[in-house]
Symmetry: C2
Amino acid sequence: MPNKTPLIGIDWGTSNCRGYLLSATGNVLDHVSDPRGIAAIENNQFPLVLEDICGNWLAAYPNSPLLLSGMIGSRQGWIEAPYCPCPCALETIHQHAVALPSDRLTGYVVPGLIASGLSGAPDVMRGEETQIAGLAALQPGLTGTVCLPGSHSKWVSLRNNRIEGFSTFLTGELFGALCDHTLLGRLITNDPCSPHAFSRGLEQSTAAGGLLHQLFSARTRGLAGDLGGGDIASYLSGILIGSEIRAVAEQDYLEDTVHLIGGNDAAHRYHEALQSVGAKVTLWPGQEVTVAGLWLLGRQLGLCDDHPNG
Amino acid sequence: MPNKTPLIGIDWGTSNCRGYLLSATGNVLDHVSDPRGIAAIENNQFPLVLEDICGNWLAAYPNSPLLLSGMIGSRQGWIEAPYCPCPCALETIHQHAVALPSDRLTGYVVPGLIASGLSGAPDVMRGEETQIAGLAALQPGLTGTVCLPGSHSKWVSLRNNRIEGFSTFLTGELFGALCDHTLLGRLITNDPCSPHAFSRGLEQSTAAGGLLHQLFSARTRGLAGDLGGGDIASYLSGILIGSEIRAVAEQDYLEDTVHLIGGNDAAHRYHEALQSVGAKVTLWPGQEVTVAGLWLLGRQLGLCDDHPNG
């Protein structure tokens, strides 16, 4: 039991909520995962849900401050924390945190970032900035490309403790829509997946005709008996991740070391895909960088100071 | 009332069924559209549904032969008519038609075609071969690229009355999955669509970062107030169709005249997209080429001969 008030760090995204009870030195004293992402919460009942998720911690440490990161700071969340523009120095992010609008809970919401993506259109992130702050806390002065796989995967250029810019790819969400809501997805069966299905998809992503044509081969290779029902999902994933990696490779994103943030099912696939194009990859544990980021930002906000335990 | 037995031509796809009562000279005497595509039909009840859809015609002309084209000839249809390989001479397609397995109904199912697509994987069509046969019947000796927009749009190389090859793009189905089952789709509102939303999407398809990145701009431009909820669908359509057309342009598909088969909502968008890249386009009415193809193939099969009217 620590003799200082711990920090409650919350990574609250669209489809789930992860909480960490952090000691004054940044150790994880307890953690919780809850399926109530912000999309599941009605009538703006964020504080009630939060008190429910963190109820035991708040009972034990009533004065604990909270630091919330992710989509909770979006327009669809509890309170909007406006985007900070890129390039953005990591040590300035906390200055744009927004205080929680609550009498009972004290703390802040971390802002997201906005940049101009590869296509020239605006691009945004919420939550990933906290992971990148954590990455830079774990390895000060780290430079290179950070890849954060997910529904909306992000490729981030990090240099001199500054996020220079980033670009988002719809890869994960499009994969889900293809598998669940198209003819290709209806070909998927529970049969065992061949170990080469993913790499065959990667190879298909380098063929002529572009992504929209390449994807249709999942159907025709299935018809021809060349791809089993158990292979289709991995094959499609290979085409999509391969397409994303080709696009970033064309923009010199892979010339630096790629710092790949793990922690979800897709990360090992990105790892394989990056290795297949000869990229130099360092894999980081996702939860560890999230916790490091929440704790660093909390300390910068004065939330991890030596308060007497109420 | 014709004094010859008419031909009943059926274009039976996955999601709907269109029937045409054709005179011995190929005129449309009557037509019907029914939502019972082959995906809606259970327990192999194709002949019962067909007798229901064409009931009036069969009552008036009990001896009418039928010619069925489209997914009805697939493994999921009534009876499988195996794919003919490309290159495929148009005058040989009818030789691979398969007789209907019925005591009460007489006629054939048109085979589909198989080719090696741009990506090198197999590619298939069912129904489009009938439209292309019709196109060549309407304009003998026609040469060039045929574009058939749809859920799975097709680009076909036609030369010397031969289908040299073709490639399929998942564009239409992916558009539907994006609009109905992703975060981007949830941004769509019923507000009026700006006249430039589609062309802005076409322009976005030429930007850096590839399709998976380009698509995410629908979200960020929406957040930035730069794209209204009523614009999102057209904008996404522009990115997807633009991506498809860039891919075929890289393969010299656009050097010949593009014969664009109309008849669905997407065709005018393809027309605009093709014109935006300077392609020479001839637009053909979709129903007319379908009818011409069914009648031509029916005549080649001896179904449009002078039978006395039963």
